[in-house]
């Protein structure tokens, strides 16, 4: 938005004052020497690889899924047919995030909600239906399990299906995310394991993947989920690396695998790509630089295969407006541009119907088309780090790095990232920013086209939200009964007993979780073990 007077202060989202133009003098001395580094060279802010998108385009990677496992399977196939180059399995929030089966009282009370945000997968049979005919061996697959307490189950289900199909786990590529920001900060569950138990799970996943799935990204810290909750770009960066420190310190403490290997596993992260194009592009550049410096300075790791951060981005869902939804196609494209200018490896564009529902088939197709247009028609892929050397971009990158490290240090001084989740300190930061951003819109200081200005009451284009299928609950309940009736009951119960024993001890949870899935133990039964052993996280906010 244009300031009232050109001399008025204009601020970046990260609370950095912006000048009306920049010169070479503005680039901080500490950063000036880095400007001439080539992409693919430390500290990597200029990009992952010198030939950038010429040698490897970003992965088109869309969140997808709803209803029954077969509905989700159909949508994923639709996206792959339309040009998606990896696939993401979404799980139903009600069941997956809480590790409940559909017959849990909290779910029964909301049966119509089941399947609205992802498919219901309560046993390995459901996961097998969802993965039917999908290219698990050649594609980068996201097994779902974005939520920390759900990740071991979702990963084990995916791997169990892969094993049954005869795929070699050591060649399987994918991720499960397992991100604290999602349910401990952004979208808090009614019930989940405490953060220390979550850290143990993620440590176990990192160790298990190191041994059995070297091509898998075991955990993927999602700055997105912090940012779309309200953290500013500098805070998103600072908290993300503070989170990485939790994992690396944990692995170091355990001392069972080389730290370099663990760092490689933590080096696939995700960010939000929001609407302030230059600041967001600078954020991706800053992230690579910070990761490289963190590994070098804190852990003495210099290996370029480890220090070179890989970034997945999703465009900001919260920037998509309810009013005049077609405008969101433009917003999605521009946010994607910011990610591409920042040199990310993987990208998802939120649907134009984001403010109403999960994406319709058409909205999903357009999210893919936007990326294809950027990739094929615009020349954005011709030159690596096209913004490199810009006085403004280099200055803002350096300023973001500085602010982000300050936030990182503040988190560490408060006991670390997980302590700041437990205490609600990060929530308070996010809430303050949400309020500020909202009040800027409310006061007319910032505009949203179609919402606070340029109303179009004469020819409104209305969409009505995608509902998905209406039998997800009924089918899930039937299948739950079926699996309990026809599985080898003793085997399932033994596996669950073993799981409880391992949860109470300190062995890696993943081997026994694989046993549970192969014995057809169900999600809710696994969740019951967690609730019994670990208890409940004391949520620091009321929402």
């Amino acid at each position: 938005m244009r300031p009232k007077d050109p001399q008025d202060t204009v601020q970046a989202c990260s609370d950095i004052p912006l000048k009306s133009y920049y010169t070479a003098e503005d680039i901080p001395d500490s950063h000036a020497e880095r400007v001439n580094v080539a992409p693919g060279e430390a500290p990597y802010h200029r990009g992952f690889h010198p030939s950038g998108y010429r040698s490897k385009p970003w992965r088109i990677f869309q969140l997808s899924g709803f209803g029954k496992p077969e509905d989700e399977n159909e949508r994923i196939k639709f996206l792959l047919k339309n040009g998606e180059t990896g696939f993401i399995m979404e799980h139903d929030r009600n069941t997956a995030d809480h590790c409940y089966n559909v017959d849990h009282p909290e779910v029964l009370a909301r049966r119509e909600d089941v399947g609205l945000t992802g498919a219901v997968m309560q046993s390995v049979r459901d996961t097998a239906i969802c993965l039917d005919g999908l290219p698990m061996d050649t594609s980068f697959g996201h097994a779902g399990g974005a939520v920390v307490q759900h990740a071991p189950f979702a990963l084990a289900a995916y791997w169990a299906v892969a094993k049954k199909r005869g795929y070699d786990l050591s060649k399987l590529a994918g991720t499960g995310q397992s991100d604290f920001n999602l349910t401990y900060l952004g979208c808090v569950t009614k019930q989940q394991i405490p953060t220390d138990a979550g850290l143990r799970f993620n440590g176990d996943i990192i160790e298990f993947c190191t041994e059995h799935l070297p091509r898998w990204v075991p955990v993927s810290i999602a700055g997105y989920n912090g940012a779309d909750t309200g953290l500013t770009p500098d805070q998103e960066l600072g908290s993300l690396f503070a989170n990485a420190v939790e994992y690396l310190d944990e692995i170091k403490l355990r001392g069972r695998i080389p730290l370099e290997v663990a760092a490689r596993g933590c080096g696939g992260v995700s960010f939000r790509a929001s609407i302030k194009i230059f600041e967001e592009a600078c954020k991706m550049r800053a992230a690579r630089l910070m990761w490289s410096d963190l590994l070098k300075q804190r852990y003495g790791i210099n290996d370029e295969r480890v220090a070179n951060l890989r970034i997945h981005c999703v465009t900001a869902g919260s920037k998509m407006a309810y009013q005049q939804p077609m405008n969101n196609l433009v917003r999605g494209a521009l946010m994607a541009v910011s990610a591409v200018l920042g040199g990310v490896q993987s990208l998802g564009v939120s649907g134009y119907d984001e403010a109403l529902s999960i994406p319709s088939e058409h909205a999903h197709q357009m999210s893919v088309r936007i990326q294809q247009i950027l990739m094929e028609e615009t020349g954005l892929t011709d030159v690596t780090d096209p913004l490199g050397g810009s006085y403004y971009v280099e200055t803002l990158t350096a300023q973001l790095v500085e602010k982000a490290w300050a936030f990182f240090e503040e988190i560490l001084a408060r006991g670390g990232y997980l302590a700041c989740l437990d205490s609600g300190w990060l929530h308070a930061k996010a809430e303050e920013n949400q309020h500020k951003e909202f009040m800027q819109t409310e006061s007319g200081e910032a505009n949203i086209v179609g919402v606070t200005m340029a109303h179009d009451d004469s020819s409104p284009f209305e969409i009505d939200g995608f509902i998905g299928s209406d039998d997800a609950f009924d089918v899930a309940l039937e299948r739950l009964k079926e699996v309990k009736r026809t599985r080898h009951e003793k085997g399932a119960k033994t596996a669950l007993k073993d799981l409880e024993r391992v949860c109470r001890g300190s062995d890696n949870i993943m081997p026994v979780m694989m046993d549970c899935l192969e014995a057809e133990a169900t999600l809710g039964e696994v969740g019951d073990v967690y609730r019994e052993v670990f208890g409940d996280w004391r949520t620091p906010i009321q929402c």
Binding site: N94, A109, R110, L116, G186, C187, L356, S357, E442, C543
Partner: protein
């Protein structure tokens, strides 16, 4: 039944003094009908209502039974529902509140598609989808609790 959701009172306004009479603040219950804990919207709204002088009782993700119990036990003047899932779940909560407390006003906000807004409005609710202004929400709360008669 009693409600088991964890709850907190997130704000109490200064008691209004009209002459020598102390006026009790109006109380608003805020609940989420779904099991999806996105808190950005309800928190911004709760803060605006608190700043406008209301006492806001937030019980978060709550079942229909918990919402009804809280509305009655907390003796609220208005119920606010944050809706993010299937409209049938929200409609069930609306029906239950209206049946237990026929005069209780209800308003709703959240990612509510147009067809669902119409269903809620047909039950007498004021509805605030994304993009609504806080001033309009506060005006509605004032009107629904009888603090103002302005339309």
């Amino acid at each position: 039944m009693t409600y088991t959701a964890r709850f907190s009172v997130i704000g109490v306004r200064q008691f209004n003094v009209k002459g020598s009479d102390v006026v009790k603040p109006k109380r608003i219950l805020m609940a989420k009908t779904g099991l999806d804990g996105h808190w950005r919207g309800p928190t911004i709204v709760a803060r605006a209502l608190r700043d406008a002088g209301f006492e806001v009782i937030m019980i978060g993700m709550a079942t229909t039974a918990e919402i009804v119990a809280a509305a009655i036990d907390e003796d609220v003047d208005l119920v606010g529902l944050n809706i993010g899932g299937h409209i049938d779940v929200a409609l069930r909560a609306v029906d239950a509140v209206q049946s237990a407390a026929p005069d209780m006003p209800i308003f709703a906000g959240g990612t509510i598609p147009p067809h669902a807004c119409k269903q809620l409005e047909a039950k007498g609710l004021e509805v605030f989808p994304p993009g609504s202004m806080l001033t309009d929400i506060v005006d509605s709360a004032n009107r629904l609790t009888g603090l103002s008669t302005a339309q």
